[in-house]
Point group: C2
Chain length 417, copies 2
């Protein structure tokens, strides 16, 4: 029999009824003979309430105290699930981050997990088949002895890190969706749930804003090769056949995916803003003059497009930033105009980024070219293009987002049925 980590997010433990439902999922795996560690988030709504209280107490609150306050949410859930498991006849014990311990960096509110000690958990699996219920999202900084938290969505990362520490065969993420889709099903009704997706692909999807998993958790899963299965906590535990493969998406090594498609999914984001600098002097140091001040102001630049200039004297340079940072980015650039030396600044917030992801691109030529033709046929103007080894992104007018996504989804054979 194997060893599993099961993770339940906030909506999966939103009240005691849902916690009991989670306990039934755990019981099914225990009854099937698995050793199980469970990772829980705070009951949905709890974290927001705690965060709001911190803000009320002081807008500029100490990150260390914020962490102590918000970590209390996961603490309550871990104890409650342990109680619900015991009521279902399962030996169980709750664990806070400081109890295992889960050592993290000192970066309060967005700490990174440094080390998880799984020794005691493994000992208890062996001695008494005890289920560990671990408060997600939190850890402890070894030197200060202070509670830390990992930032929003951090419980996913806790789950994967614990799975790596106890050498789990799989990490099951129970959430409010039943897997990872080829694209957002609300935009493309023909979107298909993927049975499997490679770590690298999932990392791109998560980075591009797919809300299923926190980026950091996918990174960790990739580094430690933690097979991660995204499935719905809303499936009724009593309807599940423990011998059948349940609906969901397995995030795994590409070697495990037999029939690899060229394109796995299409992602898109409307939270983009474009800034174009016209007739920038084409001389060394100009890029640093532009992007240095943006970095200093914590503005995250995504796409950057600079053409080789025709005349060798000036060039146009385009980049994108999150829509929320657009005004700050404009102001930053305008302040640095003297050092940069551009002629005109054009900006737009009614733009969207559409991305095509697939490990198969590594070995297939012409994947992007196909997309450019298809978009051109639909009269969709491409403002900018960026590419990486396993994805390419185009920046287009926001109004065409859905049309572009549907077009590409069909183009690469992702439509179901």
């Amino acid at each position: 029999m194997g060893r599993l980590v099961l993770k339940f997010g906030g909506t999966s433990v939103s009240d005691v009824d849902r916690i009991r439902n989670a306990a039934q999922h755990v019981k099914r795996e225990v009854d099937a003979g698995h050793d199980v560690a469970v990772v829980v988030s705070a009951m949905s709504g709890t974290t927001n309430r705690l965060v709001e209280w911190c803000r009320e107490a002081s807008v500029l609150h100490d990150a260390r105290e914020y962490d102590a306050v918000v970590a209390s949410g996961e603490q309550a859930t871990s104890g409650l699930l342990a109680i619900a498991l015991q009521a279902a006849g399962i030996t169980a014990r709750s664990w806070q981050g400081w109890q295992l311990p889960i050592h993290t960096s000192n970066a309060h509110t967005s700490a990174r997990i440094l080390e998880v000690n799984g020794t005691e958990l493994i000992k208890r699996f062996k001695e008494r088949r005890e289920v560990a219920v671990i408060a997600g999202f939190q850890g402890i900084h070894q030197e200060t002895g202070r509670i830390t938290t990992l930032g929003r969505g951090g419980s996913d990362t806790s789950a994967v890190a614990i799975a790596a520490a106890i050498q789990a065969d799989r990490c099951d993420i129970y959430t409010d969706v039943d897997g990872v889709y080829t694209t957002d099903p609300r935009v493309v009704p023909k979107a298909r749930r993927l049975d499997k997706i490679a770590y690298e692909e999932m990392l791109e999807l998560a980075s591009l804003g797919a809300k299923v998993l926190q980026v950091r958790s996918v990174e960790l899963a990739m580094v430690h090769n933690v097979r991660t299965f995204v499935r719905s906590s809303f499936d009724r535990p009593e309807d599940i056949d423990p011998r059948a493969t349940p609906p969901g998406t397995l995030i795994c090594d590409e070697g495990e995916i037999v029939e690899q498609q060229v394109v796995t999914g299409i992602a898109f984001s409307k939270d983009e803003a474009q800034i174009s600098l016209r007739n920038v002097k084409d001389k060394p140091g100009v890029a640093a003059a532009i992007f240095g001040p943006l970095a200093d102001n914590n503005i995250n630049v995504d796409m950057i497009v600079q053409n080789v200039s025709a005349d060798g004297a000036t060039t146009d340079l385009t980049f994108t930033v999150p829509a929320a940072d657009y005004d700050r980015a404009r102001a930053t650039i305008e302040q640095a105009r003297g050092t940069i030396g551009y002629e005109r600044l054009d900006g737009a917030t009614d733009v969207a980024k559409v991305s095509v992801i697939g490990i198969g691109m590594r070995s297939h030529a012409g994947v992007a070219a196909k997309a450019f033709s298809a978009l051109a046929e639909r009269n969709i103007n491409i403002r900018a293009i960026t590419t990486s080894e396993i994805k390419f992104s185009v920046l287009i007018d926001e109004a065409y987002t859905e049309l572009a996504v549907r077009t590409l989804h069909s183009l690469y054979g992702l439509d179901q049925g």
Copy 2:
């Protein structure tokens, strides 16, 4: 300057506004030059909600997990008050029971404090005048590393134990009343707030059901001679003159009370039930036959009255139990009738216990006799009497409770004005 512990109960930190109010009380003491440790309860309502969730998850919940769940309430408050203090310009840091640590017994849900480590707190007082905000009600069991809680009202005990550990000059209990009264002001409008009361007297009052302080906290204060000041958190911090003695009651060593009254206060309880056994055989072992089975059933017997029998053969025996245990107590005695051998069992639940407390009784004769006459004058029948060194109690018909309390309150010169 001195060293103080300030404790704020649930109603004193019921929302962020009240937490800010508590911060102002702390700031006043810090500005006056004191080193301050603060002990906080959960925000009022929080503990009840967490307890209710535990019960929903399982009626027979594991005490260890219950403790992990409910301790999260104090954790949140401690962080929030630290934030509010920092916002008021005070250096502050929160501490959970496991962080100091506060070592307790393993009796989950009603653990006893074994040891409080105040070393780090004192170091930080000296190095940076840092205020410690400590989560009350909770500790850790050293061997298991599990969170424990002290039971309802346990934050009072935390506060006194911490005051003892850091050799505080005083422990200030901020609560929703402004001190300890000679009796319940709702019954006797002429009740006076006591400026001072001796530990022993407060212990009797608390044991008799005065809700101001947990019994255990008074015991600890007495043993470690922690001067404990009960005062209202509803006084507006800005109205308080830091040089004047604030309204409140100081619980202290009797040596500190210059003008000791004979009687300090009158307590009463209507939650009593009386059981009388008629014509019990007056032979060795009969008391054991009665009270053994009651103890086995966890029924707490309070007053016991047995007369020397006139004929040397049989006697009447009367005792009281909490009204809630009356039916169980009757059934227990009736089951043991064979071994006890009584003729008739009379019972009553419409009885009340009125107690007169005062350290002065030690050195004054006739204090109780005065009461018996005064009650007789009012035609109040005394069903039973018990006495101890510093108090005596009478059991009377419940209907006469208020009359008896008012009569005795005047009799001993406790009326104000």
